[in-house]
Symmetry: C2
């Protein structure tokens, strides 16, 4: 089919562009010998962790693939083989995307550090283009995977989308463990390094005497880069397949076009993102944020134009185009909401700064209150977007067009995914670059440039979290509509009511909310526990006077190893919890209760993730603001209070929050795949 | 009708018993002159606050009564007058109950302090009987109020329950402001007094030099006593009327008996509680907790027997009796769950103690993780109770008996309400007594006895919060079933589906969850803001050397006044938020979306309140444990960390958490009353 060919061509073309961008980065100088050395440590640490992490994940994947096969043999033998295969393919592609993006990140960091000697624009270019190449690869791989299995499994527009849901489940499965394991790793190392290094021993951040510093730098790559990469890979996979299923539901009106439209739009989004990436060019005295914002506007603008063309050609409905633009506008709105709640230019962060004056408790309470408040605009924007896109969909006169309208909004929002990922990866890469420079003793102008880029990285990271939660929220409605469509297809009876006024459905709903609470609890505890091991190890090494005086090198590898083990050990239980609860509820209370679990779990997940992300971001920036010299600056009581808030916020914003994005989509894909068991 | 006569007789009899108990307390000596003096300060402060608080609430009540009248004149003129009147009567009875319980508390505190000179059993007896008299009065007044307006408004078993829902709304309305205002008052004063007194100036708790100490002691009475009193008053009112409405739904099977049964069971519960209260007798070398536990078991045991008799006589169904016992068992289960998560005998609190070793951030994270985890057993017990009581109800062969089964469970749980309230009030009374003794410079054996009683008070307070959230959870299902019954009656069409798979209902559900987040945010910020005013004032007074050296009396009245103003100012906005959101959603998105708001708001509310209560309780007890000399004891770094956790937990457990109990029921009653507007 021409649409599939188009998607394949764009996907391959994007991979070529990514290779071109990566080659440009590779050509840069790797910096001084000391820089190369520390970059080498980071590379080894990251590779070592990912190798063991993906070995664990591979083991779990095989167990689940077998379990899927066996379960389906009993309940729906016709799908046993395909489900298991699609699951494994999704998992494998997701793992590939994660590994490639990590490899790019660990090779871009030192090159960014060294190009800062040339100028700030050169450093930005290196970091951003490295991140962009990873971002493009992730989205392109997700898309190519779907196109390929769609071709492999029959190309029947009314059947194949249901058959390949296992691909999305495999992607979510890997994403959960990648994000959770990486998130625990990065924050446990960070908390461990800071609590003993900065607070107890009073040495600066990224000081080479701190044995946990390499583990901390490794964390940026395995948590932020590989984790978020797996998250967006999963979004692309799940939301495309979910939208294709809704396309089946309106097959009578739009035919094959409705089914393949999501893939085409995603491919066009890749093109728009690539254009945006090439538009990022900063003058030497310009603002890095402004340069990246320009690229985002270019991507958004081109997306609107391409979306219009595609909608008119394939679906022939201006109303559906309007529904799609709702998604693009929502993406922009989320970026601004996040900025308002996490930037010190605005009132909320300043309230935390004021709260820091009376100590850590009031610093905490201010942040807690404002982060809870930040869920307000988030939910209102999502609600408005859903109601508007649903309304536009209904106006389109397509039967069941309302639901397809919400799907259109999700597709619109995801068009900018590759660009957003580029901005996101830029964050940890510059963070690493600054760390490498500090570690290698770089001074002067080049160091100052990296700090400036790094502080912008904090903002872009926060923004992309806002975007991720926004897209997860919009997609939620699409995904559980897909679930209901699938159940209806399986039972041959209409299934469009989830009546929470029934006791067993109410219990399902309560379990959905509970799941989010328990998962957050376990994710946070995973960080605490792993951090405890690191704290003990760093204290042990600091007891050696030779290390503190700088005469003897600390044992970095030992800390990396402890963090790796702790993160892997603590990621399994919360992951299994999320996988088991929906299955148990589905088997005991059946399909309608599971739908309630999915819906209410999603609502609570969105609120919780928003709360956690914004709380963490705001505390972080309040601390940074004080460190700029306000309220007594570094070392003051206000600063000490702000450090406590920042430490609390670390697992909120970089472990639990992002893992909940993944959790929401995993709930959707696991119920989609296991639907035959619940009827 | 014989049932109503029975309820009136028991109600009046209970008031007589309460008067007898109060008289016994009043006969006790008021203690030394210094004790009388400080008790006088507390009494004046509490009266002053409650006078202004209830003046504000009265103003709001009148505005809402008029608004109700006007709205109903447009939508349902037949009910305009009755709704407004019932609302005002409910509000007035609730206010009366709150004021009486506060008056009893402020007269029992100094008498408890002085009777500690005789012995620990005498002090326990004074405190517990004072609390018991307030507890009995609250439940009896709630019940008498319903019986009286039921008689006044026609006694038509199929109509009157719908007419008098305004009574429950009035009670919830007052309870929200009473709990929120009192909760802000008590914790702002506590945080303010501690942060400047204990941490900055390094003087002990309840030291007479601290200008905020009287405000802090007043807070126990207006927050814990009056607030929780209004909460349980509301529970009794809302759940009785809700159960009566479900009685109407099964009128064909059980007739008038089904409608009046809830009132009879509540009256019997009062009898059981009175028996339990008289069973509390502690030996001089015994354990105060064991004495109160014995009373609880006596109450529970007698409740089961009386419930059996009532069910067999009026409903003639063993299955419905079984459903009722589910509630009694659930009450016991909740007490144990709360104990597990907040007592230092168990693992969770010890984990916080361990976390305190690495500082405030890890202390916080440990508590955060365990409090989130504590929602697990809570939700599972509630789910099991709902499923079991529903199942028993279905077995009873009463049509729609499943829902009535869940109502039976709620009635069973609420039978012990008066006893639980007695235990609850005991907490703030002994807390005050210990404060008065410290303030008056009491030393030796008598002081030690009060401290022992006070530490038990912390446990009983935590347990009653567990009970309150448990009863709110069970009642939730009853109350929204009542809402749906009412909508069905109004429209003349069956209304038994709340389909969250529709976009507008989904948005309603999301708004329900959001409401809890925003309310919590505002409640916490209310405490922070008010505390800031107090901190500034205490610092200002401490600047006067004469105060710090004890030569000059600090200006207590000024701090009381500032706290009063701050609490009143900050209670209005969150209160209005809770009242407006359901109305706006109801008018825009209609009855089904409101039902979803109510259901999901309740689920999230239960989880959040459990999280907040248990987090606060656990941090508090971790701190107390360290103060007993472990981990370096008072003044150690671990202790400093634990103090931060305790301060964060204060507004969690005594402001936001308990206010959410009220919020949940308010959502139910406001939707019940305004149902005619949403169709």
């Amino acid at each position: 089919m021409i649409e599939l060919d188009f998607v394949l061509v764009i996907g391959l073309l994007s991979l070529a562009v990514a290779a071109f961008l990566a080659r440009g980065v590779w050509k840069q100088d790797e910096g001084t010998e000391r820089m190369r050395e520390v970059a080498g440590f980071i590379r080894e640490g990251a590779k070592g962790f990912m190798k063991r992490q993906y070995a664990t994940i591979a083991g779990l994947t095989i167990v689940f693939a077998v379990a899927l096969f066996v379960l389906f043999t009993f309940f729906e033998p016709g799908r046993a083989f395909t489900s298991a295969i699609c699951f494994v393919v999704g998992a494998a592609f997701s793992a590939l995307a994660g590994i490639v993006s990590m490899l790019i990140a660990v090779n871009t960091n030192s090159r960014t550090a060294s190009s800062a000697a040339t100028g700030i624009s050169a450093a930005l270019r290196t970091a951003f283009r490295g991140g962009a190449s990873a971002g493009i690869i992730i989205v392109a791989l997700a898309l190519l995977g779907i196109a390929l299995i769609y071709m492999a499994f029959g190309q029947d527009p009314q059947e194949t989308p249901f058959i390949i849901v296992g691909y999305a489940f495999g992607a979510s499965f890997v994403a959960l463990f990648a994000q959770l394991g990486g998130g625990i790793y990065t924050k446990a190392a960070d908390v461990g390094a800071d609590l003993v290094g900065k607070i107890e021993a009073n040495i600066p951040e990224d000081d080479p005497r701190n044995p946990a510093v390499i583990a901390d730098l490794v964390g940026d790559n395995v948590g932020d880069c590989a984790g978020r990469g797996a998250d967006i890979f999963e979004s692309t996979a799940a939301e495309n397949i979910g939208a294709m299923i809704l396309g089946v539901a309106i097959f009578s009106a739009l035919g094959t076009n409705g089914v393949l439209f999501p893939l085409v739009v995603s491919a066009l989004g890749l093109l728009a993102s690539i254009a945006g990436i090439f538009a990022v060019n900063m003058k030497e005295d310009g603002s890095p944020m402004a340069a990246m914002n320009l690229g985002f506007w270019v991507t958004s603008g081109i997306s609107v134009v391409l979306l219009y063309i595609a909608t008119m050609v394939m679906l022939g409905s201006t109303w559906l185009f309007a529904a799609g633009t709702v998604g693009i506008v929502t993406a922009i709105a989320f970026v601004y909401i996040t900025e308002h709640y996490t930037e010190h230019k605005f009132r909320p962060v300043m309230r935390i700064v004021e709260g820091s004056r009376s100590g850590p408790a009031t610093n905490f309470l201010s942040g807690f209150a404002l982060a809870l408040e930040s869920t307000g605009p988030t939910v209102i924007v999502v609600s408005a977007a859903l109601l508007a896109s649903f309304y536009f969909g209904v106006q389109s006169d397509v039967p069941n067009g309302g639901l397809f309208g919400t799907a259109m909004a999700t597709m619109g929002m995801l068009m900018t995914a590759a660009y957003i990922l580029a901005m996101d990866m830029y964050g940890p890469i510059t963070d690493n670059a600054a760390g490498i420079a500090q570690f290698a003793g770089a001074k002067g102008e080049s160091r100052r440039r990296l700090d400036k880029l790094d502080s912008v990285g904090n903002t872009t990271k926060a923004l992309t979290k806002g975007y991720a939660i926004g897209s997860a929220s919009l997609a939620a409605f699409l995904l559980f509509s897909a679930y209901m469509t699938e159940v209806a297809k399986l039972t041959g009876k209409p299934f469009d009511v989830v009546n929470i006024a029934q006791v067993h459905v109410f219990v399902g709903a309560a379990m959905g909310a509970l799941l989010v609470f328990l998962f957050t609890s376990r994710a946070v505890r995973g960080v605490s526990k792993t951090a405890e091991y690191i704290i003990a190890e760093v204290r042990r090494q600091f007891a050696d006077k030779a290390i503190m005086s700088g005469k003897k090198k600390p044992d970095y590898a030992k800390c990396v190893d402890i963090t790796t083990q702790g993160a892997l050990r603590n990621m399994v239980l919360p992951g299994l919890l999320v996988l088991m609860i929906p299955v148990v509820i589905g088997l005991l209370l059946k399909a309608e209760a599971v739908a309630a679990l999915l819906i209410v779990g999603t609502i609570v997940g969105i609120l919780f993730a928003t709360f956690l992300n914004n709380a963490g971001g705001a505390w972080d920036n309040a601390k940074k603001y004080i460190e700029e010299g306000f309220e007594g600056g570094k070392g003051s009581d206000a600063h000490k209070a702000a450090v406590v808030g920042d430490t609390i916020g670390d697992p909120f914003k970089d472990t639990a929050g992002p893992s909940i994005h993944v959790l929401i989509k995993l709930l959707a894909t696991i119920t989609l795949v296991l639907a035959p068991l619940f009827i």
